[in-house]
Structures are given as C-alpha cells and as structure tokens.
C-alpha cells in the first residue's frame, strides 16, 4: 500500500516511490535550470548548494517515513522521534544513548548545525500478526540534534529493536569522530569502539598488551613509559633498535580511558584545544600530563590480569551449596518404585 508522505522542506504531498523521487528531482532540477541561465557563477553555486540541501532533506524525509514519525522526547538539545510501533524500543534506546552521550561526549556536537541520525528498525512479528503479512515489521527512529540546519551532520543506520540503543551510540560516535581533527583521527584510525562493553574492551586490550612480544611492548608491560608511548604510536622511538606497536584497539582503550578520567567535558576540551598531535588530545581529554595518564592506564591494565587463574572466588561455596541441595534431593527422591 502506498502511503502519502509530507516533506517538511517543500511542503507538498507525494506518494512514496522510487519513480516519484525521480520525478521530484527532475522538477527541482528543471525549476532551478531556468533562473540559472540569468545568474552569475556564484549565484549558480548558491543555487546548487541549496538544491543539494533540499534533496538531502527530502531523502531523509523519505527514509524516515515522516508521515508516521512523531516526536517522543526532547532533552539536552536532542529530539527523539519514532514511528508509533517502535515507540517503546525508541524510548529505551534513547535513554541508553543519553547516558552514553553524557558519559563520553558531554555537550559536544558533531557540527554547529546539529545532527540527524536516522535508524531503520526491525522486529519480528508474533505468529498471529504474521498471517497478515511479512515476518518482520519495520519502523524508524530519528534522533535530531538541534539546531538541525541544512548543515547538520547526517547518518543512517539499521538496527533490530533490541540493538537500537547501541546503534544510536555507534552512529553518534561516527558522526563525532571527524570533529577530533586529522591528527587524532589518524592516530585512532576508527571511531572509538563504543559498541563494546567496558569489560570486553578492557579485557581484550589487556590481552593484547600482555601478549605482545615486541621490545617496546614488553618494555611497556615492565613499566617503561617511553616504551609505552612509542608502542601506542604517541611518540618517536627513544632508541633505534626499538620495535613493536600495540593494535589499534589498545589506542582506542587509552583514548576512552583519557575521556573517562577527564569526565563529561573531555570531548569538548579536545575540540577547543585543536590538538596537533594525539598526545595533546589525550592531555586535553584527561586533564593529566601524558606520563601520568600512561601510568594510570598501564596500572589499570596490570590490575585486570586474572590473579586467581581460572578459579573464580566463591566458587567453592557455590558448589558446596548446590551439591548439598542435590544430595538432599537424591536422598529424598530415591523411592525405588
């Protein structure tokens, strides 16, 4: 069934189909072409810029099913909108997003124009609803960072309802990543892995650190901070025979540790500092000198090592309790009939 949608940009109703998109684009292009002949080059450029922005807005509008998306919540300059059937998942996801945003990004925005993150969601239908159509139903969740001008950073993602919060955070971190500046971006290579839980990320990084075998990496484990800085790609080698570099996830872990130490304003401080090197970004984020940060990070890694080996504390008591219960059950249940 074709549902009409209303474009918030040009205020006309049109059926939602690939053919109508094409028609709409043709009309806009034709409309812009006539006046363009009488304009000079800069006016023509402005016109193209405006047209591009409008097309982008129309595309967002089409993707996000604007006719059914309604506003649900608004807090800290971010507006949550979603299709009605996605409402509960959207609110849950938004709470998780708000919590993670406050923790890692604070008030920082991907661009002065705000942002717009559109997530296509899907969920399985129950057996009764499946008689009426497809097994999956789809919805949309739109996260809008105000002021949401045509210059707003934009991204689209797809997610199941269960994974929605995680996808909102991941999408936002991808939008935020370019704001770090070229040196920090190059050093990190990828947006921070916020899709991983703290425990998983730290544990993986710890194993990477502890099992690396290069001279610099081993020196870092032994407590040499210059070797740590070299193995993390922060400084040049203190000696010419030094080899080894930690994997990128270890760098990301250090970066997130710096943000965590610095508190919610860490990301904003990086933006304000315009760091020329990754080390400066870490300094701005954590508020600590690089060596202090490296010491705290390394100590954290060492503390994560499994001190008791494979045996978890309290396992003996747990086993004793359950074995006692099972034995009592066996004594009572053995009426051999």
């Amino acid at each position: 069934m074709s549902r009409p949608i209303v474009s918030d940009t040009i205020g006309i109703a049109r059926p939602r189909s690939g053919r109508s998109n094409l028609l709409l684009l043709s009309l806009l292009t034709t409309a812009a072409a006539g006046p363009a002949a009488a304009q000079d080059a800069s006016a023509w450029r402005d016109s193209v810029t405006r047209l591009t922005a409008e097309v982008r807005a129309i595309r967002d509008s089409l993707v996000s099913h604007d006719s059914t998306v309604v506003e649900l919540e608004r807090s800290n300059g971010v507006v949550l909108s979603a299709t009605p059937q996605t409402r509960d998942a959207a609110v849950r996801g938004f709470r998780y997003f708000a919590e993670q945003r406050a923790r890692w990004f604070g008030p920082a925005l991907p661009s002065p124009g705000g942002f717009r993150l559109v997530v296509q969601t899907s969920a399985r239908r129950d057996i009764l609803a499946r008689f009426g159509g497809a097994e999956l139903w789809n919805g949309s969740v739109v996260l809008t960072g105000l002021p949401d001008t045509v210059d707003a950073a934009r991204a689209q993602r797809a997610a199941t309802e269960k994974d929605l919060g995680n996808q909102l955070v991941t999408g936002f971190s991808e939008l935020m990543f370019p704001s770090l500046g070229e040196p920090t971006m190059q050093w990190l290579s990828d947006p921070p892995p916020l899709h991983m839980t703290d425990r998983d990320r730290r544990s993986t990084a710890m194993y990477m650190v502890m099992t690396s075998t290069g001279k610099a990496e081993r020196g870092c484990v032994d407590g040499n901070l210059d070797f740590c800085a070299y193995a993390l790609g922060l400084r040049a080698a203190p000696s010419s025979d030094l080899t080894g570099a930690y994997p990128l996830l270890v760098r990301a872990d250090l970066f997130l540790t710096a943000l965590e130490i610095g508190g919610p304003g860490g990301w904003s401080r990086i933006l304000a500092a315009h760091p020329a090197r990754a080390e400066e970004a870490l300094l701005a984020a954590s508020g600590l000198p690089a060596d202090s940060l490296l010491t705290r990070w390394r100590d954290g890694m060492m503390a994560l090592r499994p001190n008791h080996g494979p045996l978890e504390s309290g396992a003996a008591f747990l086993v004793a309790g359950w074995v006692g219960a099972l034995l009592l059950g066996a004594l009572g249940a053995s009426r051999w009939r």
């Binding site: 057996i127 099992t211 080996g309 004594l331 009426r335 009939r337």
Partner: protein, 216 residues
Amino acid sequence: MLKAIMRIQWKGSWHLVVALAVAAFALPIVSVRTGWSGTPANLPGFLTELELWGLFYPALAAVAAIVVAVSIWISDRRGHHIYALLLPIPRWRYVLLRYLGGLMLLLPIVLALWAGAIIAAASLDLPPGLRTFPHALAAKFALSLLLLFGVAFAVAASSSRALGISVRLLGLFIAAHIAVIMLRPGTNLIWTVVTALVTSPGPFAPLGGRWMLIDV
C-alpha cells in the same frame, strides 16, 4: 559398610575410572604441546588455542560424572533395587554410602588431571608476562566434577516415577517455550532458564569462565 560398597563399585567400574584418569592426565599436556611452538612469536594465538582446549575440561568432567554415576547405579537398576532393600539399613544411608563411594572413584581422575597440569606447566619455558595455574585449574576441575556428579547422581538415584515426571515437565516447558516464542518473538524461555543456570548463583556457574592452564 562403606568399604564393602566401595569395593563393589570399584570392581564394577575400575576400567572406566582408569580410562578417564588417563584422559584427564593427558588433556593438559596435549593442550599445551599442540599450541606451543617454543618461541613467544605468537602468544595471542597460543592463548586462544589454549582457551579452545579449555572447553574439553568441563566436557571431560561431564563425561566422568555421568559415567561414574551411571556405573554406580546400574547394578541396582538391573536388580530392581532388591539388594538394597534387603540390607538392614535405611534407604537414605544406602544412597549416602553410594554417593561417598562414587566420590572415591572420582578422586583418581582429579589427581591425574592435577599431575598432568603440573607436568605440562613445568615442561614449558614461558616468556615473562605469562603465568601458569596448574593448582587452580585442578581445583576448578574438582569442583566442576563434584557438581556434575551431584546432578548425575541425583538423576541416576531417582525412581522411574520421578524421572517420568521430570521428563513430562521438561516436555511441558518446551511446549510452553514454543508457544511463547510464537506469540512474543522477543521472549525466549529456554535461553532465560539456561542463563539463570549458568550465571552465579546458578548451579552451573562454576563451569563457566576460562579454563586456562597458562594465562597472562
């Protein structure tokens, strides 16, 4: 009385216990020998391989627990428990003696694994940063074996009627799971129950985690 019960059980299942003890002794040695190249060039790969080998420890504990529990009760089941009913002792005491006799059969298996872990750990020249945990591994294996033997023993000792009721309840639960998952696709009863069983304070929580003889 305990000695007599132990002698009967040992006679009936010594060959199984020896086989399980040999497997327990070999497991740690084979696990480190297959992955260790003698150089620290690929430590993450070695530890990953060792972690995969670690899956065999709870598996071996499960096999040992089931085999010993079944071998303890098989003669009673064959004889319809007439021998037990003829003895001048209460039923609960007979079951307790059987249980203690079973624990004695598990002891050689645990000791074999402990010895194997110590030998395996001592045979490697590990780089700094890696540590060995033969005692903790053997202790974890012993606790897991004790727990799984408790479960297997309780099932093996129970009456046919109790087993029948348990099987029917299990079938009912699976039917309920299917109905719920069709009406509410996001709700998985089996997964919920399994999660409760394998996470603390669930009975199988001690089986989880990494079974690492060598770790960072």
